[in-house]
């Protein structure tokens, strides 16, 4: 009888050979896995960003309206014109206000969900926060236009409880007031906060959930009251989540062009300016220069957040 070992081994299948190859060269498998997303990110995403940046250094001939393909900083200079500078200032102020209000509103909700909600109530929380995200953005914005309109439910309710004069007083505040909530900056602000709030709550809740209970107990054990613990322990440990949430609310507000178009007094925001400049006006260079502004602002914002140690705990 022949010993079993001398029999010729069956030829390995292609799958086995591939497995062996990947085992010997782990870098190959990694490269294969990473290539598609890297190509996507590198060419489609970063590539178009660079194209955008590039365009912003062109300018437009004021008489013919033709793009002059020569490197110039003239277009960036145009951003400093009062009418354009106003747009930037208005947008950044709105984004900051929306972010601040979202953070203040989101914290108690996120805190409750992270610390106290259990089982069924946790599910209710997630559903309540996520549900608005499932319906169309446009439908929500138009619904808010009706809610905030002069004939809408807010005015009706305010008059019903005798607070009509309070609403009128709020609407008579210069700049942010207006004819009705739906045609004022207050209305724009309310709808922005409503639409972006979930993006603040979810990361905040995730970071609060990661704060160990024993740390809060240690703080109390050492004599700290609730507020002191909140300020010295809970907030610093939840900071990465708060920053993450604020990046969402801030950048989403910076770039949005639909809400200020539908709700508000038609004053321009960066997004609206980009939309009209690249469309009807055909001024691609200025549109690109406008689009670079939010990117720069976010870079500065991230640098400050990093300096504050927001990412230390990541």
């Amino acid at each position: 009888m022949m010993p079993a070992a001398s029999q010729p081994a069956p030829a390995p299948g292609i799958a086995e050979r591939l497995t062996a190859l990947f085992w010997r060269r782990p870098g190959l498998l990694l490269a294969l896995l990473l290539a598609p997303p890297l190509l996507w990110l590198g060419i489609v995403y970063v590539g178009s960003l660079i194209a955008l940046l590039w365009q912003s250094f062109y300018s437009i001939d004021p008489f013919s309206g033709v793009v002059v393909r020569e490197f110039t900083l003239k277009t960036y200079g145009e951003l400093l014109l009062p009418q354009n500078y106003d747009i930037i200032l208005r947008t950044v102020t709105m984004a900051a206000a929306v972010t601040l209000a979202s953070a203040v509103l989101a914290f108690p909700i996120a805190f409750y969900a992270a610390r106290f909600a259990k089982g069924r109530w946790k599910a209710v929380f997630y559903l309540g926060v996520m549900l608005p995200l499932w319906s169309s953005y446009l439908v929500k914005v138009y619904a808010w236009k009706l809610i905030l309109a002069k004939e809408g439910i807010v005015t009706w309710a305010a008059n019903g409880i005798g607070a009509g004069s309070v609403l009128d007083a709020i609407l008579s505040i210069p700049v942010i007031g207006g004819n009705s909530l739906s045609t004022s900056f207050i209305g724009t602000f309310i709808v922005f906060v409503y639409v972006w709030l979930p993006y603040m709550i979810l990361p905040m809740q995730a970071s609060l959930e990661r704060v160990p209970k024993s740390m809060l107990e240690a703080s109390a054990d050492l004599g700290a009251g609730g507020l002191r613990t909140l300020w010295s322990v809970t907030l610093p440990l939840a900071l990465p989540g708060i920053i993450a949430g604020s990046i969402f609310t801030f950048s989403l507000t910076l770039g949005d062009y639909i809400i200020p178009q539908i709700i508000g007094n038609s004053a321009n925001f960066i997004g609206m300016a980009v939309y009209s400049l690249q469309g009807t006006a055909g001024n691609i260079p200025l549109a690109a220069a406008f689009a670079v502004i939010p990117i720069l602002i976010m870079l500065v914002y991230l640098a400050i957040a990093r300096r504050l140690g927001a990412f230390d705990a990541l």
Binding site: P212, S214, E217, A218, D221, L222, G223, S232, D312
Partner: protein
């Protein structure tokens, strides 16, 4: 003089679960008191009742004679070393230690000076600028200790403080904790599931079982005179003899315990009782022998250097009469 901590028929029930069930305890001032028990026996809940993170559902807890029922944790002159240390990761070691003083409103210079003093006490001089993440487990343990001592508590609570350390470090920390307690002269209340730790460090030990105190006494009393089967078995894994076995072993018809190390094994025909070796477990300093004595299982412990019988061998068992300890209860 009132006791440092006194439990008067204290219960803490979570729904149907009786985590702590009518416990009476007196912890003398300046003592090193260990709460010993398996997990789920109620020892940690008792510690949390003292620190104020749990409230009793019945009974009262007196801290230096005062009922602590309405006193929140941040107003008790009691501090805790947490099991996971609970150091604040965003603060450096000095600020961690000084936290209790910052809360009190002590100025920066004064609290940092005090923090350095405490860091020196736990042999961590010069570590003030590090973050907790840059420390080893043993060093974090010391920081947690210094932080808990900064407010000069009258009672220090330690929740399994050595559980996360490796054996060598654990032994070093045991000695250090003991000497620290003697130097400071404050009351230490210490929770552990490690009977060796409790016996070697504590002045008094309370053994917990299923939410009740099974026995309170000095380590010697707990080890040599266990009050019941549970204590005998949990502390040092003693042989527990039911009344009929005790009779067979030459005692009265009562429950008794017999320490494995008190049993002598004799080859040949001698011995009070005969047994057959069923298993051997090598422990380094000794070998644990399990024996079948007419249907009853017994454990004996033979120190290293003495010949060990083989599995299956018939041997005689002998012991000193006083080693057979009679127990009050089953």
């Amino acid at each position: 003089m009132p006791a440092a901590v006194e439990f008067r028929s204290v219960s803490r029930h979570f729904g149907a679960v009786k985590a702590v069930d009518s416990v009476d305890l007196t912890i003398a001032e300046g003592s090193f008191f260990a709460m010993l028990g398996p997990s789920g026996s109620g020892k940690t809940t008792c510690l949390r009742l003292i620190s104020g993170f749990e409230s009793p559902t019945a009974g009262e807890i007196r801290i230096f004679g005062e009922d602590s029922g309405a006193v929140p944790p941040n107003r008790r002159n009691v501090n805790t070393v947490f099991q996971d240390y609970a150091l604040f990761p965003h603060m450096n070691v000095r600020d961690n230690v000084a936290y209790g003083l910052m809360v009190k409103g002590v100025g920066r210079a004064a609290r940092h000076a005090k923090a350095e003093e405490l860091l020196a006490l736990v042999h961590l001089d010069g570590f003030g600028d590090r973050k907790p993440a840059q420390l080893s487990g043993g060093q974090r343990q010391r920081v947690a200790l210094a932080r808990a001592l900064v407010n000069e508590p009258k009672v220090l609570l330690l929740d399994e403080p050595l559980g996360a350390l490796d054996l060598k470090l654990r032994e070093a920390m045991q000695d250090e904790l003991k000497s620290l307690q003697q130097r400071l002269g404050i009351t230490f209340v210490f929770v552990t599931h490690d009977q060796g730790e409790a016996l070697s460090m504590a002045d008094r030990v309370a053994v917990f079982a299923e939410g009740r105190v099974a026995q309170v006494g000095t380590p010697g009393e707990i080890y040599e005179q266990p009050a019941n089967r549970f204590v005998a078995d949990f502390v040092g894994s003693s042989n527990v003899l039911p009344p009929e076995q005790t009779q067979r072993f030459g005692g009265p018809a009562r429950w008794a315990s017999l320490r494995p190390e008190a049993i002598r094994l004799e080859r040949g025909q001698g011995g009070t009782v005969r047994g057959r070796v069923t298993g051997l477990r090598y422990l380094g300093a000794a070998t644990r022998v399990t024996l079948d004595c007419g249907g009853h299982e017994l454990a004996a412990q033979i120190p290293a250097g003495i010949a060990v019988p083989a599995v299956g061998e018939e041997v005689g068992l002998g012991w000193q009469v006083q080693s057979l300890h009679l127990m009050e209860k089953a």
